[in-house]
Subunit: 133 residues, 2 copies
């Protein structure tokens, strides 16, 4: 199936290895740049919202099925190296500019330049929600 990036993300990390590990929320901020034809989809974001950034780990090894010395299947982990390297990062919205297509966010740990496939609202504790929503 054909995924088209809606934009890309700018972060301080050259590679995913240089980024903090998932699950340990970093304090680094970055910018999601949304391509012009998708910017109308940004309406309604507010500062302080939590947004789930779905991005493509374009430098990941897609042949990996086992990790941790072969003991665990990759589907029981969050490793970016996996058959479809679609990754999820919950970030906090710092600023939004719909006309410019920019969403400044805190808590990034993707590699700089990674393609972004989607942005989503977070839901409940089981699915990725801000506490208390």
């Amino acid at each position: 199936m054909d995924c088209e990036p809606i934009g890309h993300v700018e972060t301080p990390f050259a590679t995913t290895d240089a980024a903090p590990r998932q699950g340990f929320r970093g304090d680094q901020s970055g910018t999601v740049r949304v391509d012009e034809q998708y910017r109308r989809g940004l309406t309604g974001f507010e500062v302080g919202d939590t947004v789930l950034v779905m991005w493509w780990a374009d430098r990941a090894d897609r042949s990996v099925l086992r990790v941790r010395g072969g003991d665990r299947g990759v589907f029981t982990t969050r490793s970016p190296a996996r058959p479809n390297p679609v990754c999820l990062t919950a970030c906090e919205v710092l600023a939004v500019d719909e006309a410019a297509g920019t969403l400044d966010v805190d808590g990034v740990y993707m590699a700089d330049g990674s393609p972004v496939l989607d942005l989503k609202r977070t839901l409940d504790a089981a699915e990725g929600a801000p506490p208390g929503e």
Copy 2:
């Protein structure tokens, strides 16, 4: 970018409209069927685990950018109708059979037959974790 399904999911719902809305955990169970070449990635799942099922809403309208009468951008929602209809459902593992490539899960609300792109461990409350992990 090229996403290849790792399998598909069997559920009681003919369409996403027939499924309960996201955020309201359903009590319906279903089966993720993983294609043979990816089954080694299932090692380590246990009954009771929460798994994040990433699936493709293959019948979704990909032209949607605004929802709710045009008031909200689609990226601030969880609507399956969006430019890249990659959806997330946190399910509970009921049974796993790595040789057969089946993961029986509770809490499904995807449409029957939807392609599955990935399975992931859930993390913390902000990213999609079982309470208490």
